[in-house]
Symmetry: C2
Subunit: 401 residues, 2 copies
């Protein structure tokens, strides 16, 4: 199948036809900032979502699981400043009220509204502010930018993208917004991403395509700390592109396009890690399986010792090899090759001598590549992380107080 993916300049989730969005300063956060937003499709959508695997799930996640049983949705309402997690029965009632409130404003059924909340855990939503705020949100065709800002917690920049897929006879558009300010351990551990497309997509294929795209993007920027009570990636497909319905058989290029959007947003989150100054890309090759390669890449990308070394431009590659060795992936030291950027530091288990000054200068860059080849099999995976700075500690030492 012949197709071409084009980036849409200054694109966002509302770059997709039929989608509007808007945000409001509802006063949920102490600062005067946008903290409540709505994404709305003018027509009903096929929808899919993947959620946190944390045993502790926020009320919005539990409610969304119910609302998406019919694989349909038409709007998403989101607030920052309060996660509505660990809030027991009251949290569930509040989440349902939030959906009802948005549904009423939009003239749709509450079951067609998805909800998301991010912020402090264990405190109830200020429903008065939420309800009034929902009333005040003004929906516009470039409101995706406002939405992206309203979702932010300690993010330093909004994460948004849109791409156009040109294909015969009919192409389509995919747009998305995401938040998440910590790479490995997002602040309050929450990562949210909302995607929109005008493609006509079979509901089951949409779900499996989303799962697949998330597995090699959002699930590769985070290790143990990644599963928060509120994590969610959701996609709405309104079908306005009127293309031939896409499914497992003919949807490969839709998968590729979705992968690209998710990867861009995921890397943006890693790059914007709390206190981060660098994006770290970890490539693991030659593992006995893809599963082991993923495991190893994630462990290396999340190792505090690796992250601090990269922060200090320290070519201390022993930390990379040591993290690899404890990852659980099978490693035979005598077969191992390791690289810092493009400098080979270990070949077949033998440490190589290299110019430390030069290696340190090479690490002094906005993007750093760590690569290991286990030379045991065909398993390959890429993970992304960021460096660990003293600023991370400062950000996280005083959040609720």
């Amino acid at each position: 199948m012949d197709y071409r993916i084009k980036n849409i300049e200054a694109g966002t989730v509302t770059s997709v036809q039929g989608f509007v969005a808007g945000a409001f300063e509802a006063g949920i956060k102490k600062q005067n900032v946008l903290d409540l937003a709505i994404l709305y499709s003018k027509t009903p959508c096929t929808a899919a979502a993947v959620y946190t695997t944390n045993f502790i799930k926020s009320a919005p996640v539990l409610i969304n699981q119910q609302h998406l049983r019919d694989r349909k949705a038409q709007a998403i309402v989101v607030n920052s400043g309060c996660a509505n997690a660990c809030t027991a029965e009251r949290g569930m009632a509040d989440a349902e009220e939030m959906a009802r409130s948005a549904a009423k404003k939009l003239g749709i059924a509450p079951l067609d509204v998805l909800i998301a909340s991010t912020g402090v855990i264990g405190i109830p939503l200020p429903m008065d502010k939420i309800n009034k705020g929902i009333d005040k949100v003004a929906l516009t065709e470039d409101g995706g930018h406002e939405l992206a800002r309203a979702m932010m917690t300690t993010d330093t920049f909004a994460k948004e993208i849109a791409i156009q897929v040109e294909a015969e006879p009919k192409g389509f558009t995919i747009g998305g917004v995401a938040k998440g300010a910590g790479m490995i351990h997002p602040n309050m551990a929450t990562m949210l991403c909302f995607l929109a497309t005008d493609a006509v997509v079979d509901a089951k294929f949409l779900q499996s395509a989303l799962r697949k795209a998330v597995d090699s993007s959002f699930n590769m920027i985070s290790v143990d700390g990644d599963t928060s009570p509120s994590d969610m990636v959701a996609i709405l497909a309104n079908g306005l592109a009127r293309n031939q319905p896409l499914n497992k058989k003919n949807g490969e290029f839709f998968q590729k396009a979705l992968d690209e959007v998710c990867l861009y947003l995921a890397k943006s989150i890693a790059r914007d890690g709390e206190g981060a100054t660098k994006l770290i890309e970890v490539v693991v090759e030659g593992a006995t399986s893809k599963t082991e390669a993923r495991l190893a890449a994630r462990i290396i990308a999340s190792s505090p010792l690796v992250k601090t070394a990269i922060h200090g431009n320290d070519p201390n590659w022993g930390r990379v090899v040591s993290a690899l060795g404890r990852s659980g992936a099978k490693v035979i030291e005598a077969k191992l090759d390791a690289y810092l950027n493009h400098i080979c530091v270990m070949k077949q288990g033998h440490p190589l001598s290299f110019d430390k000054q030069q290696a340190s200068a090479s690490l002094n860059s906005k993007e750093v590549l760590l690569r290991v080849n286990l030379n045991l099999g065909q398993g390959k995976a890429i993970a992304w992380g960021c460096d660990l700075s003293a600023e991370y500690v400062n950000i996280n030492s005083a959040y609720t107080t």
Copy 2:
């Protein structure tokens, strides 16, 4: 069995009869500090050790596994400043030479010497300095203190202890020294502990008792970052106490005493975590199994978000519950109780209101207790960690350069 455990004032590993030790400034480290040491028993010992589970094992670990096949040893030689890990064939040859060199000095067989190296990974041992240094070490009856200092890397204090076990008709003594300056991710990921006892102990029982003591002490102060290429805990038992040989049947009080020594040294390591200002004790109760309780306690104790919150005296308990939820241990939110020190913050899944100022004041302490009761079963475990400070990042951003 009636017995009493007494702490020996200023006790160390050479407080045990028949053991001598000494250290020397061999110049392996750049600074003029003790960096080479020997522990020696005047008589042959039954010996046991547990090692890192990292796939990448240092040369000393590999050599020790060979040397301990006969469950006998009489000396340990250790250096700091260089880990002799990821050093391929040369590292193995160097480690064997180090053992031969110590054996020659002591007039024993190389197979009766254990070796340990801690420091930077991937550079070869300076054998000239090692050999000359071994020659120069002077062994004395209170040399355990020097040994404890010579093992240190970024440790801020030496970790040593000795206890006397009074029992009829014959008691015994256990002493130990340990190093490890990072709790979760010890610098260069290395944790070493050498134990000595004059008790007569069956070799197989000694091994199983050591494994058991380590499982509830050293293995509970560390999570993923804990398995370095060099980790090792070794015990030498010279039998000079001439007690009835201890085994599985009559050795329960030996186990208790060994547990106590290991626990003290393990908590010392957690307390001395790189950049740490506090010891965090995490108690998990009511899990479906002990395995799940251990898992949960370790994940909570190692969560960067928990560690930074405690550093800032922030009563942000959502982070504790969130870490618990992602640990893999089964959790039912509606049954969960959680405490910060003795303040109940969640009861049966409901967030409780509490005085934040008061809670923050309570966390402003050298020791902090985090406790969760899952109310699902009988599984209980305790883990220890430390807070995460900006100083941790400073220490780890520039180690080799």
